[in-house]
Structures are given as structure tokens and as C-alpha cells.
Symmetry: C2
Subunit: 298 residues, 2 copies
């Protein structure tokens, strides 16, 4: 298997689905649709839709409804980036080498584009449920994704991260950081993979394995992100380096040191790979994908 070629093809398929699903209406006053499209089309690795699609296939899924789910996944993720970048949160002007949504369209539109993308994700999920051959599976998948995105998932982690930065949160700082990484980053990776599998009919036991697997690779991905923030260049990662330090964010690196962090990335990745071996069918691409995510240089 030529991993890079396989990945490129899957990213291309995900991008096609996303582009097809994006709002296209003309003759609507204002810039909302333009700012939604801009936020999504500015780029990205499409990691979550690719993982979702892969799990869907591993569990034998074939229906078109996956395209709605993959697009919804990316809308949720993009919505969170839109809001992360706002002046009241991380105040980032650059992402993926381009202006962030609020830098391009103003702060109010940065807020509203994020809102509209989050809501649109659910519009797409209902469209997907409507199209699905097996509606029970589709409802289950959408429900999982909604919970992984919410106040006990991604948004929960995001808010603890913000509060820690703004006012500080009392308690064991490593524990709090682990909570943030589990929720802010890993939850959505778990949700992507679980929803893909659930949509194809995976059972509870299988979903439990996938949740654990998503957790491990999500954490590895986040720690690698922190490592790149101190070892990469603006050019290679498409956003300012040392942004965590600038924002006064304590990361895994500050607490355990860069060597320990790098070791943790490998340990977590190995765990994810071992879990993948418990799944039915061919998980070769998935396992390569895990290495790609945790050992990436940008």
C-alpha cells in the first residue's frame, strides 16, 4: 500500500463531499455564506472526515449518507476553530497560512460564521439520517457525534482551556491539562471514528474499543501539536510558533519536558495501533494513519 497516495485519495474524496455539502445560495444579503465557505475552504488536513470514512468502510458501510456525516464532522471542527481564533479566546490572526475568519470578516462575523457552521453540521446530519438506509444506525451515529462535540466533550475541554488561561483553575495542573486534551482534542477524534463505525452498524463492544483507540491517537495528536509549537517554524506549520507560550498556555511540554512528551506520543500511538488490531477487516491504512498523525512535522 502506498500510504501517501491512499491518503491523498481519501482526502480528495472528503473534500469533494465537503464542497458538495457547503451552502451555495446566491442573492442572500450579507457575507454569512461567504464567511462559512471561507472558513471551511481555507484548508486543513481533513483528518476527522478521513478517519470517519475509514471506520465506516472497515465496518462494511457503503451508503452515501457517510458524505453528509463527514461534512458535518468538518463543519463542527471548523466552527470550533473559528471561535478559538476570536480575540476573546486565542486571538489568532493566522491559521494554515491564511487569515482567520474574524481577521478576514470582522469579529462579529467570526462569531456568527462559527455559529452557523455548528448549526449547519446538524442540518447536514438530519439530511444524512433522512438519506440513510438504516435510520437507527444513523441516529446513533449522529447522537454520538453530538455528545462528543458538546459540553462534556470538545466544548467542555475548550472552555476549561480558556478559563485556565484567563483566570487560572485550581487543582493539579497536569490533571487539568489531561482533562483539556481528552476533551478538547481527543473527544472529536473519538466521535469521528465512533460515528463512522456506528453508521455502518458497529456494536457496543466495538464502539468501546474505537472510543479508546480514538482517545489514544487524539492525545498523541495533541501532544505532537504542542511539540510542533516549540520545534516547528511558522512556514512549516502555517501559524505562528510559540503561540501557546505567547498565550501563556501551559502545555504538556512545560510540565513533563519535551523528551518525555515525545516518548508519550509513541506510547499512545502504539496503544492505538494495538487496539486497531482488534477490529474486523483490514486496518492497514488506519494504522499508517495513526503514525502519520502522531509523527507529523506540520
Amino acid at each position: 500500500m502506498d500510504f501517501n497516495k491512499e491518503l491523498e485519495e481519501r482526502v480528495k474524496k472528503a473534500n469533494q463531499a465537503i464542497e458538495e455539502c457547503l451552502p451555495k445560495e446566491k442573492n442572500i444579503p450579507g457575507n454569512l455564506i461567504e464567511s462559512m465557505r471561507y472558513s471551511v475552504l481555507v484548508g486543513g488536513k481533513r483528518v476527522r472526515p478521513v478517519l470517519m470514512g475509514e471506520l465506516f468502510e472497515i465496518f462494511g458501510g457503503t451508503g452515501k449518507e457517510i458524505r453528509f456525516f463527514q461534512s458535518a464532522m468538518e463543519m463542527i471542527h471548523t466552527s470550533s476553530l473559528c471561535h478559538d481564533d476570536l480575540p476573546a479566546l486565542d486571538n489568532d490572526m493566522l491559521r494554515r497560512g491564511k487569515k482567520t475568519t474574524h481577521a478576514q470578516f470582522g469579529e462579529a462575523m467570526g462569531i456568527l460564521a462559527g455559529d452557523a457552521l455548528l448549526n449547519y453540521a446538524y442540518e447536514l446530519l438530519f439530511d444524512g439520517i433522512n438519506e440513510a438506509q438504516n435510520k437507527e444506525n444513523a441516529i446513533r451515529a449522529a447522537r454520538i457525534l453530538s455528545k462528543k462535540s458538546g459540553y462534556l466533550g470538545m466544548l467542555g475541554g475548550q472552555s476549561v482551556d480558556v478559563e485556565r488561561e484567563k483566570t487560572g483553575i485550581e487543582g493539579d495542573q497536569l490533571e487539568i491539562l489531561e482533562y483539556i486534551n481528552e476533551k478538547k482534542t481527543a473527544a472529536l477524534i473519538e466521535g469521528a471514528m465512533m460515528a463512522g463505525a456506528a453508521l455502518a452498524g458497529a456494536n457496543d463492544g466495538q464502539l468501546e474499543i474505537i472510543e479508546k483507540m480514538g482517545n489514544r491517537i487524539g492525545l498523541a495528536f495533541q501532544i505532537q501539536d504542542d511539540i510542533l509549537d516549540v520545534t516547528g517554524t511558522t512556514e512549516s506549520i502555517g501559524k505562528p510558533v510559540f503561540s501557546d507560550m505567547k498565550n501563556n498556555k501551559e502545555t504538556y511540554i512545560n510540565i513533563v519536558g519535551i523528551e518525555e512528551a515525545a516518548k508519550k506520543v509513541i506510547e499512545l500511538t502504539n496503544e492505538a495501533v494495538a487496539l486497531a488490531d482488534q477490529l474486523p477487516r483490514n486496518t492497514e491504512f488506519l494504522k499508517e494513519m495513526f503514525s502519520y498523525l502522531s509523527l507529523r512535522k506540520k
Copy 2:
């Protein structure tokens, strides 16, 4: 029928559903759950859940799933208020006589509480679909509500309103204002009533009538809101008066004058009442509700 007593009972039932559905977790770091609860429990007339519940009953609905839908409805509405009040949008510090979410918890939490409430609305809708006796009806109802909340509904109207205020939008100002009122306010009233009816199994023709009815009463409600902004007192309406003028917002009042606006409210209300007469069963409370909404003094 004693309308005030009936209304009080229905509001009480809606509040019970909302309180039951609100997140209750303890031992979660940070203030997200507290800020979500604050935003919702600070009060409100619960107009949309009451209308939703009423239409559900008019069409013979009896299941418990309505409670998830009513709560989701109020979460969506509250989420939009949270974000409307932000410094980058209306910059309001007071709503319903109490501090707005960002005034109470800071700007970042104002953003994240709104996000979490919007997402949570969909978590609740999936819970409701899961519980529903008739899943097809529930999916249909949730789908309608999602579209009425989105970029072609409430959020679309909200964004045009903001842009008009910040940078101006070229074109016929009355037309643009009507677009805003149709989307920002009426869409969610339409969605509330349509979703309630759809959940109970209303057919396409009936939903069309309800959509039109929701549109008329939603517009009447908004124009009355504009009238109260110039004729009410801070004490009676629970927020600063002349806030539209302060925010440099052109309202229906500025364009057509207060007398014409008051006439329009009555005309729209009469249309809504006439449409209600086309529905099956007893719509006495619904029609009284329309008068209450359009002739309210606060």
C-alpha cells in the same frame, strides 16, 4: 377559558421540562455548566416552547419526547441571545433585568456558553428522537427546527442585522429590514410551531399553514418589540430602552413611523388568527396567545 391561568400553567410545564433537561454534572472543572444554566435560568417568557407544546397538542401529540424538543427549542433561542449580547454584536450588559452571560462570566465564556447551548440543543433533539414513539415524525420535526435556526433562518437574519449595523448593506432598506425580521425573529417562531406539529404527525399541507401563521405572528412580535423599545421603560421591559437607537439600528418604526407600525401589528395578528382557524381541534388558547404576544406591554 382563563387565558392567564392557562398560560401560567403551560409556562410552568415548559420550565419544568427545561430544568429537567439542563446539565447538572458536578465535579467538572470550570464554569461552562454554570454559565449554560445561568443563561437559561435567568428567565424569559418561554414563548417558543409554549407555542411548540400547543401545536403538539393541537395535532394530538401525547408522548414525552415533546419535553426534549421544547427544551432544545429554548436552548437554541438562549444561545442566540448569549451571542447577540456579546461586545462584538449588540454589547448589551442587561437582559430581563439581570446581567447578560458575558457580563456575568466574561466574554470568552459568553461565546462558549452560547456554543455549548446550541450544541446541547441538538444533543437533546437526538435524545428526543431516541425516545419518540414515531421516529420518522421526530426526525422530521428536528430537521425543520435545525433549518429554521440556521444560515437560511435565524442565524442568517442575525448576521444580516449585524452587518447592516456595522458596515451597512446596500439596497432597499425596508426590504433588508423585512428580511431580517423574517429570519431573525419569525423563523424560530415558525420552527417552534412547525416542529411541535410535525412531531405529532401533521401533514405537509398543515405545516404550510403553520409556517405562514408563525411568520405573521413572528413579524408582529418583532414589530411590537421595536415599538416597546421606544415606548417602554427599562423597568417594564427589563433591558435598556432606546437600545436600537443607541446601536444605530434602523427599525420598522424609523422607516414607517409608529402609527403605521402599530397598525401592521394588528393586521399581522389578524392574519395569524385567521390561519389558526384552518387548523383542526381547539385553537382558542393559541389565538389568545397571538394577541398576548403582539399586544404585550413588556
